[in-house]
């Protein structure tokens, strides 16, 4: 909310003298260093917490990600092509766990439904 800022008593006159400008400058610098130093302090604190959390995470190795045993009989170029296509469609970080042949014939219906699901989150 708007602070009715108290009239700044020693506000600089329109044309301040040398002495006043030097004082004004140093104060300015002090304020900038003070602000950024406070942020530095807070970041060091959060830094300690997160560095420890990261260390603990490294200690407990993430669940071993078993390499997806490629479907027998699936030539490597086809696997490459499929993962290329997946990469283009899912425009974000992803990991391919398995490649399986299409069984149910409902896939395009699911795709339609998925589009309606994601159709809009803005309300």
């Amino acid at each position: 909310m708007l602070l009715s800022s108290p009239f700044f008593a020693a506000a600089l006159p329109t044309h301040p003298g040398i002495g006043e400008t030097i004082v004004f400058q140093i104060n300015g610098l002090l304020v900038v260093f003070l602000a950024l130093a406070t942020i530095w302090g807070v970041l060091e604190l959060t830094g300690i917490y997160f560095r420890r959390a990261a260390a603990r995470a490294k200690a407990t190795p993430p669940p071993a990600v078993v390499a997806p045993a490629p479907l027998p009989g699936l030539p490597p170029q086809v696997v490459a092509a499929i993962s290329g296509a997946v990469c283009v469609v899912i425009d974000a970080r992803h990991r391919i766990l398995a490649i399986a042949p299409v069984t149910a014939d409902l896939d395009w219906a699911h795709e339609g439904r998925r589009q309606i699901f994601a159709s809009h989150q803005v309300r």
Binding site: M1, L2, L3, P6, F8, V23, I116, S119, V122, R123
Partner: protein, 414 residues
């Protein structure tokens, strides 16, 4: 040296931070956690929470608030400085009180101007332009009966109106609290800004949070009111709706609703304009803008402008808790009445039955409420695809809530 620093510190904001503001910082952080970790309507709750944080910081040049004689707080006030010039031809008849103001300076904070988007009721209708461009009314046109489920879902609005007025809220405030049950953000903000601007923050937060809670609130009520047999009802697949039908639908709905509730004209006309340019197929450029640029940019400004009204002394009040409680009641009753009216329809016309699970989708929050009905239905019969059927009441609920808002405005607004 020292005197300069001391003077500088008199301009800092430390002295102005009250414990209430610290509580509001916590409220903002909780809302951010809900939005990011729990996925509670992030597109709205993140800007709202951020606005609430700024509202409770000693800012200068962002928002101007004033306490009016009757204790109400008015915000987003700006000043126009100019010279009053004599009217060009003062003698002429009808020129009596003509005044020409040469504006030399306009002064105000960043959100004194951006919030005008809410105060002048511009953001909600323009966001409805985008919502209309994103909505497919096909399922509703294919099964017009579901309109009654959309109407039924408004019962929660009116019951909560009574609850709120019993709890001591004025009629205008009761209407703003009831509208939460409509699960339509823009409509709730449109109505609350007109009838009870002081409740804007609480109503918006409650509305958007409950929309995200639909997957938790609705299923128990749906199960409570339906028998196992009813939950397995399979419905005929919907017929394909032609483009011409959808265009006629947009124009017809606009004319009927505006004739009946002229006060909802801004919302309804923009909703249907957005839908018309989506369905007519020859205005691709305009649809893309309505679905993206317009709705995204306005959501940032709408969210932050709502958040900026959440000042500690007005938000941290008993009313807010009452609103949160009444909000749940509104959602609950809306869901229940949707399901009950669906069961009533089966009684009235047993030949082509309606699966009552889609009744709850009358509580718009498109398309989530329809998804809840679909998922619920699949628990009892994995091959029962209710989604498209539930979209009918889901989009009907958007129109229903706009009509309810029109009713409140025409009766309480003037």
């Amino acid at each position: 040296m020292l005197q300069g620093l001391v003077d500088f510190f008199s301009t800092t904001g430390f002295a102005l931070v009250t414990w209430k503001m610290l509580v509001m910082w916590a409220v903002a952080v909780v809302l951010l956690w809900l939005a990011i970790a729990k996925g509670f309507e992030p597109l709205l709750l993140v800007p709202i929470a951020f606005g609430a944080l700024v509202a409770n910081l000693p800012t200068r040049g962002v928002i101007t608030t004033e306490v009016k004689p009757n204790g109400a707080i008015d915000s987003a006030i700006f000043r126009i400085e100019g010279r009053v010039l004599p009217a060009e031809h003062p003698g002429a008849p009808g020129e009596a009180n003509l005044q020409v103001l040469k504006v030399e300076k306009v002064e105000g904070g960043l959100y004194d101007f951006i919030s005008q988007g809410i105060k002048l009721e511009l953001f909600p209708p323009l966001i409805f332009l985008g919502v209309g461009a994103l909505t497919d009314f096909g399922p509703l046109i294919a099964m017009p009966r579901t309109l009654m489920l959309g109407a039924a879902a408004q019962v929660g609005l009116f019951i909560t109106f009574m609850g709120a007025s019993l709890l001591g809220f004025s009629a205008k405030q009761a209407a703003s609290i009831g509208i939460i049950g409509g699960a339509d953000g823009p409509t709730a903000i449109f109505l609350t800004n007109k009838l009870a601007p002081e409740l804007l923050g609480a109503v918006a937060v409650a509305a958007y949070s409950y929309m995200s809670l639909v997957p938790l609130i609705q299923p128990p009520i749906m199960r409570l009111l339906t028998t196992d047999k009813e939950r397995r009802i399979r419905m005929q697949s919907l017929r394909k709706v032609s483009k011409l039908e959808k265009l006629i639908f947009a124009v017809v709905v606009m004319i009927i609703c505006i004739l009946l509730v002229p006060d909802a004209a801004a919302l309804i006309s923009m909703l249907m304009l957005g839908n018309f340019i989506r369905e007519c197929g020859v205005t691709e450029r305009l649809v893309k803008s309505a679905q993206n640029e317009i709705i995204n940019v306005l959501t940032i400004f709408l969210g932050t402008s709502v958040g900026i009204t959440m000042r500690a002394d007005s938000f941290l009040a008993a009313e807010t808790l009452k609103i949160i409680v009444l909000g749940v009641i509104a959602f609950g009753f809306s869901t229940a009445s949707g399901v009950l009216v669906a069961k009533l329809m089966n009684v009235l016309s047993p030949n082509n039955p309606v699966n009552p699970l889609i009744g709850s989708a009358g509580v718009s929050a498109v398309p989530m409420a329809a998804r809840v009905s679909h998922v619920e239905g699949q628990k009892y019969d994995p091959n029962n695809y209710l989604l498209m059927h539930a979209m009918g009441p889901n989009v009907a609920g958007v129109i229903g809530t706009a009509v309810a808002a029109g009713y409140f405005l025409s009766t309480l607004g003037h």
